[in-house]
Symmetry: D2
Subunit: 140 residues, 4 copies
């Protein structure tokens, strides 16, 4: 399984005066999906940083199909898409019931606390193996 699913409910704070969710907030929901993805693998992201491993976003993209609205229940589907020695890509799909609201991508570098790139296989071999297995087990 390289896929994870989580539900969240739209907060009033996330809306704007167009009466829909402000577009930048979709990236926050992607982050929520990503956090759950790692948690399900028993590798919560909070543990990464304790080991001086950070995954800053280096590219982010979103395509908006239909507006999310206040109080909607949103399903975030997160899929690991590419795993390289120094970088990782996720894809996301946001649904309200069966309606696709948006899809997007984030690309992440592996860096240490000083912001220097690290080779995951060397810096955190356990995590590398775990992600690698996960990625392969699904036929990628």
């Amino acid at each position: 399984m390289t896929k994870d699913k989580i539900k969240l409910r739209v907060r009033y704070q996330e809306t704007d005066q167009m009466g829909v969710v402000y577009h930048a907030n979709y990236f926050v929901w992607f982050e929520v999906g990503r956090a759950e993805f790692f948690r399900k693998l028993n590798m919560p992201y909070s543990e990464f940083e304790k080991n001086s491993l950070y995954l800053p976003v280096i590219k982010a993209y979103c395509e908006y199909k239909a507006p999310a609205r206040y109080d909607d229940e949103i399903t975030v589907i997160t899929r690991m898409d590419e795993l390289q020695e120094v970088r990782l890509t996720f894809h996301y799909h946001l649904f309200r019931e069966r309606e696709l609201l948006a899809k997007g991508t984030t690309e992440h570098a592996f860096v240490n606390q000083q912001g220097r790139p690290v080779v995951l296989r060397k810096q955190t071999p356990f995590l590398w193996r775990r992600l690698h297995e996960t990625f392969n087990s699904s036929g990628g």
Copy 2:
């Protein structure tokens, strides 16, 4: 001139525990740049909505080169990139002094208050002409 420049200062609220600006906030800065772009043309976006014209984001993209930090002074450069009958594209560059921090794009549809697509030339001819002139005057 299809280009506009505005400065803003990074707020504490915009940082995250990585000690840098949270990535989704760059899209908020793009929005600030866009608002100033329209204001300079004497067509503040707030006027659009009074005329039942909305410009929701339909695609958003950002590439992160170097992290912005608390209290940095950021320059947002906004450029209109494509003007079509039903859609508009902007490009953005974010600088801290001469250092490029990020660049990105947003694509916008023209819709009415009900969220239905409108042909700008018909719905708001004045604005269409104004954007069109602006776009051409610069050799696009």
Copy 3:
């Protein structure tokens, strides 16, 4: 029951460079607690606005006891505290397990879509009765 309980997980976006949750976000969590409070009464706040009833915040207060951190599971306890003809007060307590992180208050006016104050008993009698019963049933 004039009390409701909901859990939420701290998002990365909610942290700041102090390594803890940015203080203003506690008010967003209060809003989440309030929304669940109304939902449990079978009166989701989203329905209010469809009936041209709005509950803007007119006073907000928070006292911070201990910092919430990324990925913490936070329990929000929301209690209706005062119900008057033109206004409503809520109290909130935020916990991480048994540790009190913060407590606060929001006071809300009842207004219509134009922002004019309304007397709830007249404007939305059903809601007034429902809140009133709820409030009394608990010995307030």
Copy 4:
């Protein structure tokens, strides 16, 4: 002078579906006012943290008089209100031209990087003196 004044323009992101600024954002503007207050004293808050001095918010209060709207130009007036050895209080007033939109307060502790309270006079004597002079010079 224990008072500072700064202007900011309401961002689209700061609005909600009520068509006005979401209430929690006023606390972000207070933070912007506070940052400018320190900057004007030649003690930018960013320098504090480099010296392991942090000023987390321990109490926050806001009273809302009239809604701020998209694109409004807001004046934030920040006043230091109480200076104690372990704590500091600020008052804020938000105006749109001459109309008072909101007023509020934040109370801050002085803590070190570990979150432990510090006595400002001992931890950062220079800053203590500077704030003290500032406070007295105005009949505070």
